[in-house]
Every structure is written in structure tokens, then in C-alpha cells.
Amino acid sequence: MNKELEHKFVTELENNQNIVHKICTLYTNDRHAHKDLFQEITIQLWKAYPKFRGDSKFSTWMYRVALNTAITLYRKSKKRVKTQDYDSVIYKIKADDYDETEEQQLKLLYNAVKQLGDIDKALIFLYLEDKDYTEIAETLGITEVNARVKMNRIKNKLRTILNP
């Protein structure tokens, strides 16, 4: 691998790293695991990079590799001890910007999302990232209709968690 390719790849990833961080936040529980997953995703992206033709956007290509790493290739997420909750850390910082009820509701929502299974999380993630159902379906390898049905089920599940 030549220097130019390395440089190009790292720059692209540096610019788009938020996508990977968001996935890590969803799929891990502490900083250490977060970094570990980020590293594995980076390795997988780098290994696949020579085959990236540039006919789609770097970020679009990244979603797929990163999600696949998180739900399929990454092995260690359950082993990590839950030392501190990532979201609660973020919420401590952000608490002032929110009014009480909305903040409460969001906190509940994030907790609920974290309790979902790997596949449900992937669907929610792509939805929150504003991907359409065609792309969600293609990424996961299911039909568009089924992606919609599944998404509705997840919405209902979240609703029952919020309003028991």
C-alpha cells in the first residue's frame, strides 16, 4: 500500500469519523469498548479501501462496512464491563440546553434504543441518519417492505417502553 493511499484514506475517515463514533456509541457501553470497536471498524475499512471505486460516496460506503463490523465481525462487545454509560455522560454536559420533560423523555428513549437487539439498532441508526428505506433494506439485505414493517414494530416497542 502506498503512502498516497494511506493519506487519502485517513483524511477521508478523519472527516467522516462521526458516523463511526455514533455506531460505537450505540453498540458499546464504555469508552474502552468504544475505542476498541472504532479501531476494528478502521481496520476493516482500511482492508476494504483498495476495492472502493469511488462510484458511491465515501460516507455511503462507510455505513455498510462500519455497521457490518459492529453487528457481525466485532466479537468483544458483551465481554466489556459496564463502567460508565456513555449517554449519561453526554447528558450531564447537555442538561442545561433542555427543558425537564423533553430531556427526561430523550434519556428514556436513548436507554430504550440501547436495549434493542443488534439488528433493531442498525435499523434505528440508519433511520436516525436520515437514510431512506431503499438504502436501509440494501444495507441489511432485506426487502424494503420488511424494513418498513420492522421499523414500525420498533416504533411500537419504543412507545410501550416510554408509556408503560
Binding site: 494511506e6 484514506f9 485517513v10 475517515l13 478523519e14 469519523q17 462521526n18 463514533h21 455514533k22 456509541t25 468504544h34 472504532f38 479501531q39 476494528e40 478502521t42 481496520i43 476493516q44 482500511w46 482492508k47 476494504a48 476495492k51 460506503w61 455498510r64 462496512v65 457490518n68 463490523t69 453487528i71 457481525t72 465481525l73 466485532y74 466479537r75 458483551k78 453526554i90 454536559i93 447537555k94 423533553e102 423523555q105 430523550l106 428513549l109 434504543v113 437487539g117 443488534d118 439488528i119 442498525a122 433511520y127 436516525l128 441518519e129 436520515d130 440494501e138 444495507t139 441489511l140 439485505g141 432485506i142 426487502t143 420488511n146 414493517v149 420492522k150 416504533k155 419504543l158 416510554l162
Partner: protein
């Protein structure tokens, strides 16, 4: 307001609170070693191939060669051996083909399917080995009973026991129990390795498959 819309709005705002890695930090990461499940399966598979082939090889030495000659099972044993190496080559080829098909840029469902396919090839290879060992075991048993030094003792013991049929039935049962126990042990061992490694993948794959119905 729709709960998810609320979440989506907040999700987009969240960016500024995410950690940020520098160019150098990311650059260092690309040279780190992967610890992905695919890598684990690859190493375990290589160990399987080497282990079983070695077991097969060391069971053929000068001594066993002489014994097979004496027991008149040499020819059939050689045929079995030739078959073994042809099938071994086939399995290595198939493993390599399946392994190459694992692509991280595929859809999640397809990626999981390819990983499970590689694992299935290795499982088939293990069962094939167990089959060969069972046949060899039975062959040796047959040879030793018919031509072995101890055979006369066993045969006369059978005659002396009064009920010859019962003796042979007991004999067969004992053999089957031994083979059965070995198989169960091997099966448990594999359940353990692959169970730990592939549990989550299988669950996720099942979940995606369920959606296709």
C-alpha cells in the same frame, strides 16, 4: 410529537459532543491487528485441517503397516487413505473458495451467510474425519478378531461363555458405546468453541431471516 422524530432531531444535534480522533490517531489504528470473528474462524479452521491430517498421518507408521499386512486389511486401508487425501484437497479448495467470498461490503445478511458457510465446510470436514476414523477402527477390530494374536482367546472365551450370541451382542454394544462416547465428546467440544464464537452472529442472522418470511 412522534417519539422517533424527537430522537432524530436530537440525534443530529449530538454530533458536537462526540469524541474526535486526530489524523495521527487514526493513522496508527490502520496498522493494528484485527480481532474480528472472521480471523478467529480462519485460525481455528487452519488448526482443524492440520490437526486432523496429522492425526491421520501419525496413525500410519511402520508398525501399523506390518499389522495391516498381517491382518490382510492393507489394501482396503490404502484405498481409504487415497480417498482421504483426495477429499482433503477438495475440502481445502472449498474452504478457500468460501473464505474468499466473505466481503465486508456485502449486505449484512449476505455477509453472515458467507461466514456461516465457511464454518459449515469445516464442520463437514471434521465429520468426514470422524467417519474415516470410525471405519478404520472397525477395520482394525475386524482384522484383530480374524487374524490377531488375541483373537483365539477372545473366540474361545465366546465359546466358553455358553451363550455365544449374547457374547457378541455385548461385544458390539461395548464397541458402539466407546465410539458413541468419543463422538459426543468431540461434538461437545465443537459446540463450545463455535457456540461462543458464533452465538451472536447466529442470533442476528436468524433475526434477519425471520424478516424475509
Amino acid at each position: 410529537m412522534d417519539e422517533l422524530e424527537l430522537l432524530k432531531k436530537d440525534w443530529q444535534k449530538k454530533e458536537e459532543h462526540l469524541p474526535r480522533l486526530s489524523f495521527d490517531e487514526i493513522y496508527k489504528m490502520i496498522w493494528k491487528k484485527s480481532s474480528s470473528i472472521v480471523k478467529w474462524i480462519f485460525y481455528i479452521s487452519i488448526i482443524e485441517f492440520v490437526l486432523w491430517a496429522t492425526l491421520n498421518l501419525i496413525s500410519y507408521n511402520q508398525e501399523s503397516f506390518q499389522l495391516e499386512k498381517a491382518w490382510h486389511i492393507y489394501e482396503i486401508s490404502t484405498v481409504l487413505n487415497v480417498i482421504y487425501y483426495f477429499v482433503l484437497i477438495y475440502f481445502i479448495y472449498k474452504f478457500y473458495q468460501n473464505y474468499k467470498q466473505i466481503t465486508v461490503t456485502d449486505s449484512s445478511s449476505k455477509l453472515m451467510k458467507s461466514i456461516l458457510k465457511v464454518k459449515r465446510t469445516v464442520t463437514q470436514y471434521v465429520w468426514f474425519n470422524i467417519g474415516i476414523f470410525t471405519i478404520s477402527f472397525l477395520l482394525l477390530l475386524y482384522g484383530s478378531l480374524k487374524y490377531g494374536e488375541e483373537s483365539e482367546k477372545i473366540l474361545s472365551a465366546a465359546a466358553k461363555s455358553g451363550n455365544e450370541t449374547l457374547f457378541w451382542v455385548m461385544f458390539a454394544v461395548i464397541c458402539l458405546v466407546i465410539i458413541g462416547l468419543i463422538l459426543i465428546l468431540i461434538w461437545l467440544f465443537y459446540r463450545l468453541i463455535y457456540g461462543i464464537l458464533l452465538k451472536r452472529l447466529r442470533e442476528n442472522y436468524r433475526e434477519l431471516k425471520k424478516l424475509e418470511v
